[in-house]
């Protein structure tokens, strides 16, 4: 019998010595240059961190490569950030340059700190998910190739967080990102009348539709369902419940773009991202239409926002009408909320740590 439920390795055994020694004693930090942090402890100790970008989807060879660097310069320790970046830490200032060199040699960028665009939180896409309305990794690659300099420098008004999800399940924090790309369907599910009776329960399938678009087939001899087209907003919830309702479609699928979300409680409470482009076609391998919009919004934000303003804070100050004017993104019916299934109750909850005692 193998053991089970052993849980993850104890993080304490994974810490570099300088971290163990100064755990909870850090006093302040500074960003020495993009991708390089210096944390100073109350004990007088210091730790230097070099942050490197990673494509998230990596081979074990890649992992071994970075282990080599960590073995050479960091006493065999490294960590990852909550956004897939790799962090090499050392108490020794002199090792910073060699680490940077070694990282660059692997073809990895150093940056992602301070007022930069850090790594893009993203998902599986066509690489692994059956739900995907678009891919994920290639979109990341296409955007980051274009915005590369914003990872390696810190010239934006504030942090800019991008997220990509290949369907509206939004694995990640798409719904609260400065900029986000989401895979969307725009055609109603095709009903597979042959398999539906075999694979799915009709009441459950009907109940899965938030807008009540699914009806029993009018012909009682057909044990299946039909979909009222004008009630469908392509959420794929029925497909999740019943595989006989495939919704993915070569022509209909594409991406939507959202903007203005944030998570931190700094200054303004967390905000949801909001729809800015309802639909752009899937155009592999580089989704140029999507990349162009992202680039444009970043440029206009960089030019117009005040120092310290996140994307959403900037838009809130100048108004959405100004945002659409500046970006020349057309404002359409789709931008106007009409999803009545959502109640107003959660909007009253205090979704922030900001409050007075």
């Amino acid at each position: 019998m193998v053991k089970t439920d052993i849980g993850p390795p104890n993080y304490k055994l994974m810490l570099p010595e300088v971290i163990t020694e100064n755990y909870g004693k850090w006093k302040y930090h500074e960003i020495l240059r993009p991708g390089v942090l210096r944390h100073v402890s109350e004990t007088g100790d210091e730790v230097y961190t070099v942050r490197a970008g990673s494509p998230k989807l990596v081979s074990i060879d890649f992992v071994r490569d970075i282990c080599d660097i960590a073995d050479k310069y960091c006493d065999g320790h490294l960590r990852f950030t909550s956004r897939y970046n790799i962090e090499f830490m050392t108490p020794d200032k002199d090792k910073v340059e060699p680490i940077i060199e070694a990282v660059k040699k692997l073809g990895l960028p150093v940056g992602g700190t301070g007022n930069s665009i850090s790594n893009i939180v993203h998902t599986q896409g066509w690489v692994h998910c059956h739900s995907a309305a678009t891919d994920a990794s290639p979109l990341v690659k296409a955007i980051m190739d274009e915005l590369y300099d914003h990872f390696t420098n810190m010239k934006l008004p504030a942090k800019l967080r991008i997220a990509i999800a290949c369907c509206i399940n939004m694995c990640g924090a798409v719904h609260c990102s400065d900029l986000a790309v989401v895979g969307v369907h725009t055609k109603v599910p095709k009903v597979d009348h042959e398999n539906l009776p075999k694979w799915c329960e009709i009441p459950t399938t009907m109940a899965s539709c938030p807008t009540g678009a699914i009806r029993r087939h009018p012909d009682p001899t057909i044990k299946s369902v039909t979909i009222i087209e004008e009630r469908c907003m392509y959420c794929a919830n029925c497909f999740t419940v019943c595989p006989a309702l495939p919704i993915a479609d070569s022509e209909g699928d594409g991406v939507a773009i959202y903007a203005g979300g944030k998570v931190s409680n700094a200054r303004r409470p967390p905000m949801f991202s909001r729809l800015i482009v309802p639909y752009l076609p899937n155009n592999p391998p580089r989704w140029p239409e999507m990349v162009a919009v992202i680039k444009k919004v970043v440029d206009i934000y960089a030019k117009n926002a005040r120092q310290g303003e996140r994307v959403g804070e900037w838009i809130e100050r100048v108004g959405w009408e100004k945002f659409f004017q500046l970006t020349e993104i057309p404002f359409t019916e789709q931008h106007i909320d009409d999803y009545t299934v959502r109640s107003a109750v959660p909007g009253t909850f205090r979704t922030t740590t900001q409050f007075r005692w």
Partner: protein
């Protein structure tokens, strides 16, 4: 097919950002599944549609979660990814590793899988990307052998995550990695054996900057804060001023509650107005620090939009002390899980349940008194229950 023409994906090796295609290709040289994955990618690029089928239930003995079953819809074309399941491996809290541990992991995955991984998945697991049904159990056994275990999937507690916290951050008001490690160990059963209506996520951030995006993504959100006044080192403030740092514009004017005042000499704080947003501290880390009476705000209900629309976590317990063995938070968590388990419908996250039957019922079940900190503002409508 990749042989005959220049595949579309080749284009993704160009450009400065590190290429995931390059990574797949590296493995493709020696791993047939990785090679087929390239083929799948190419097919998807051409047809603009996914070629994976609706999941299937696969797993390892004794567990119900931790594995995502995945099958190709074109197994004849791509036999090596006919089944291509991912394993979610629970990371050590804070995502610190020794190279020793990582190399062992790589060796296991070299042997039993595609050699492709995600460091990490969006929830925070190490994602071992693609293996066969046959290899699942042996791979799991090997993982256990080297000290790793699976994370969650399905209707269970998902792999909890923490920001780096006090390990390397001066802002941490709670020991986020320690709390998360402790909770992860405490709830091993609930992580591995789905029995709940749906997924349940726990995340902890050391302070209101929320570097694991817990408010947006966790059903149960733990965020460090303080009850007393933030600490000001007036000398260090003067240093900033001397260096030409614009305290008024960058800091004071951006305080959400106007709690700060700067007269060119002293930075004055009205502690009763400070809502601990971290902004001033972020901007002047050498001069300002969180207060000393530290603990956490507990928030509940964050999640993605399916199907009512997204939720941000909201305040449940304004302040809770956070000392090992974290008994209070564990008891609260158990109470919440039991209540949700009992009252939740299938695929109903805890936020949706609370919304459906009313926060008041939830609070009563938890034995928590309503306080104004839970809401931005009281209701506007007159449709009030008095039961």
């Amino acid at each position: 097919m990749a042989e005959r023409e220049i595949p579309l994906y080749d284009d993704l090796e160009k450009g400065p950002w590190p290429s995931y295609i390059k990574e797949i290709k590296r493995m493709a040289e020696r791993n047939p599944a990785a090679k087929d994955l390239l083929g799948v990618q190419e097919l998807c690029f051409k047809e603009k549609i996914t070629h994976w089928k609706h999941g299937g239930i696969v797993g390892v003995t004794g567990y119900g979660g931790g594995v995502i079953g995945r099958y190709s819809d074109a197994p004849e074309k791509f036999p090596n990814v006919a089944s291509f399941h991912t394993m979610r491996v629970n990371h050590p809290a804070g995502w610190f590793y020794t190279t020793k541990a990582l190399r062992k992991l790589c060796d296991v995955w070299e042997k039993y899988g595609s050699g492709l991984t995600n460091f990490h998945g969006s929830t925070g697991d190490i994602i071992l990307l693609g293996t066969t049904t046959a290899n699942l159990q042996t791979c799991f056994d090997a993982l256990i052998e080297i000290g790793f275990d699976l994370g969650g999937s399905g209707g269970d507690i998902r792999t909890p995550t923490a920001c780096i916290g006090p390990a390397r951050c001066e802002y941490a008001c709670i020991d986020a990695p320690d709390i998360i490690h402790d909770l992860t160990m405490e709830f091993q059963d609930e992580i591995h054996r789905p029995r709940f209506p749906y997924k349940f996520k726990i995340k902890a951030s050391g302070c209101a900057n929320d570097c694991v995006a817990a408010i947006a993504r966790a059903d149960f959100t733990i965020i460090g804060t303080w009850k007393d006044s933030l600490r000001i080192d007036q000398n260090a403030v003067s240093e900033y001023a001397k260096d030409g740092f614009d305290i008024k514009t960058v800091v004071v004017d951006k305080c959400p509650t106007d709690a700060l005042d700067w007269d060119g000499k002293e930075l004055k704080l009205k502690p009763e107005d400070c809502v601990r947003c971290m902004h001033c501290i972020n901007k002047m880390p050498k001069a300002l620090r969180p207060g000393l009476d530290q603990g956490a705000t507990i928030l509940i209900g964050g999640k993605a939009p399916v199907i009512m629309g997204a939720y941000l976590s909201w305040v449940l317990v304004p302040f809770m002390k956070m000392e090992p063995p974290y008994t209070e938070v564990k008891e609260l968590l158990r109470k919440i899980l039991d209540w949700w388990d009992e009252n939740g419908r299938v695929r109903e996250r805890v936020a949706e349940l609370i919304e459906r039957i009313g926060l008041r019922r939830f609070l009563r079940a938890m034995g928590i008194k309503p306080v104004p900190q839970m809401v931005y503002a009281p209701r506007t409508n007159p449709f009030v229950f008095f039961d």
